[in-house]
């Protein structure tokens, strides 16, 4: 079982993850969720991803098209726009920079927790 993740942390990087996944491969909502789960982010629920896709679409970072499906209703496929690619590049740089700093801080050894009453 994959470890759980802080929902707030995930929410902060969800747009970036979605842009990256959609840049890799045009996908529909449920497929994106499955891909996130396969990556080990099983905490991310459908109810979080669909509105995030709607937000990206409103912001003009992704565009969608309906593709008919043999398995049921037509599916809405998303892929990044030029603005989306720009946001992905910028977001990736910012995340990498932040991750380096956070990793550096967290890798520093900390003194042992003081004993009670000492």
């Amino acid at each position: 079982m994959s470890p759980s993740h802080d929902p707030q942390l995930l929410k902060g990087v969800l747009s970036l993850l979605l842009l990256h996944l959609l840049a890799e491969q045009e996908s529909y909502g449920y497929e994106v969720v499955q891909r996130l789960h396969e990556l080990g982010l099983a905490d991310i629920l459908e109810g979080t991803v669909y509105p995030a896709l709607a937000r990206l679409e409103r912001e003009g970072r992704v565009r969608s098209r309906l593709v008919s499906s043999n398995a049921g209703p037509a599916r809405k496929y998303y892929r990044p726009t030029a603005t989306g690619y720009g946001a992905l590049a910028k977001g990736t740089t910012e995340w990498s920079s932040l991750a380096v700093i956070v990793s550096r801080v967290l890798s520093e050894p900390v003194p042992p927790e003081p004993m009670k009453g000492s």
């Binding site: 909502g29 449920y30 499955q34 109810g47 509105p51 709607a54 937000r55 409103r58 209703p73």
Partner: protein, 188 residues
């Protein structure tokens, strides 16, 4: 492993979609339809993969999902609640008109009870500040009446309450803000 989706599953999915849709009335119609389709399609796909109960569970609470959708599409700033305003506008008028009519009828019944064969003209000043004077004409205990309309104050209160319930003061600034600075509404 793929699971067959039977008609009971479809009903459960439709119920979830309907519950969500009921909370998305503030979205433009086209957008609401798109959201319904997307959620329905996703639930059907998920239902085949993991079963309907798990699919519905993973979708989460419809209230929270609707709030996320509204925030995603309309921005996080305060927005008018058109649906609530519309419901209040109609309901309040029906209820208030019924109340005033009942009050006018009660006065007429009071006269008829006190004087079963009353004949002549009577007047009731109505509910103070909210209703015009009601004039009754009695002929052998049978009453007809005119008046009792809403006063300007009643209309004003009704409209003010509609604005408050629907947060309609937010109507004007939003398009202006969007035109001036689109990025301000796009903050994650």
């Amino acid at each position: 492993m793929a699971t067959a989706v039977n008609w009971i599953d479809r009903l459960r999915i439709e119920r979830a979609v309907w519950a969500l849709d009921q909370r998305l009335y503030d979205l433009p119609r086209k957008s609401r339809i798109a959201r319904r389709r997307e959620v329905r399609e996703s639930l059907i796909s998920a239902s085949r993969d993991i079963g309907t109960s798990a699919a519905l569970q993973r979708l989460g609470n419809s209230r929270q999902l609707a709030a996320e959708y509204l925030s995603a599409e309309l921005g996080d700033e305060g927005r008018p609640h058109w649906f609530a305003a519309g419901v209040f506008l109609l309901t309040a008028q029906l209820v208030f008109t019924s109340l005033l009519t009942e009050a006018a009828m009660a006065f007429a019944e009071g006269i008829a009870t006190a004087m079963p064969s009353a004949t002549g003209k009577f007047e009731w000043s109505g509910i103070r500040y909210l209703q015009d004077t009601v004039q009754y004409t009695f002929v052998d205990g049978d009453a007809t009446w005119v008046g009792g309309a809403w006063t300007p104050l009643a209309w004003l209160l009704w409209l003010t309450a509609t604005v408050v319930v629907g947060r309609l003061w937010r109507v004007r600034p939003m398009p202006l803000l969007r035109r001036k600075n689109p990025a301000s509404l796009n903050a994650p």
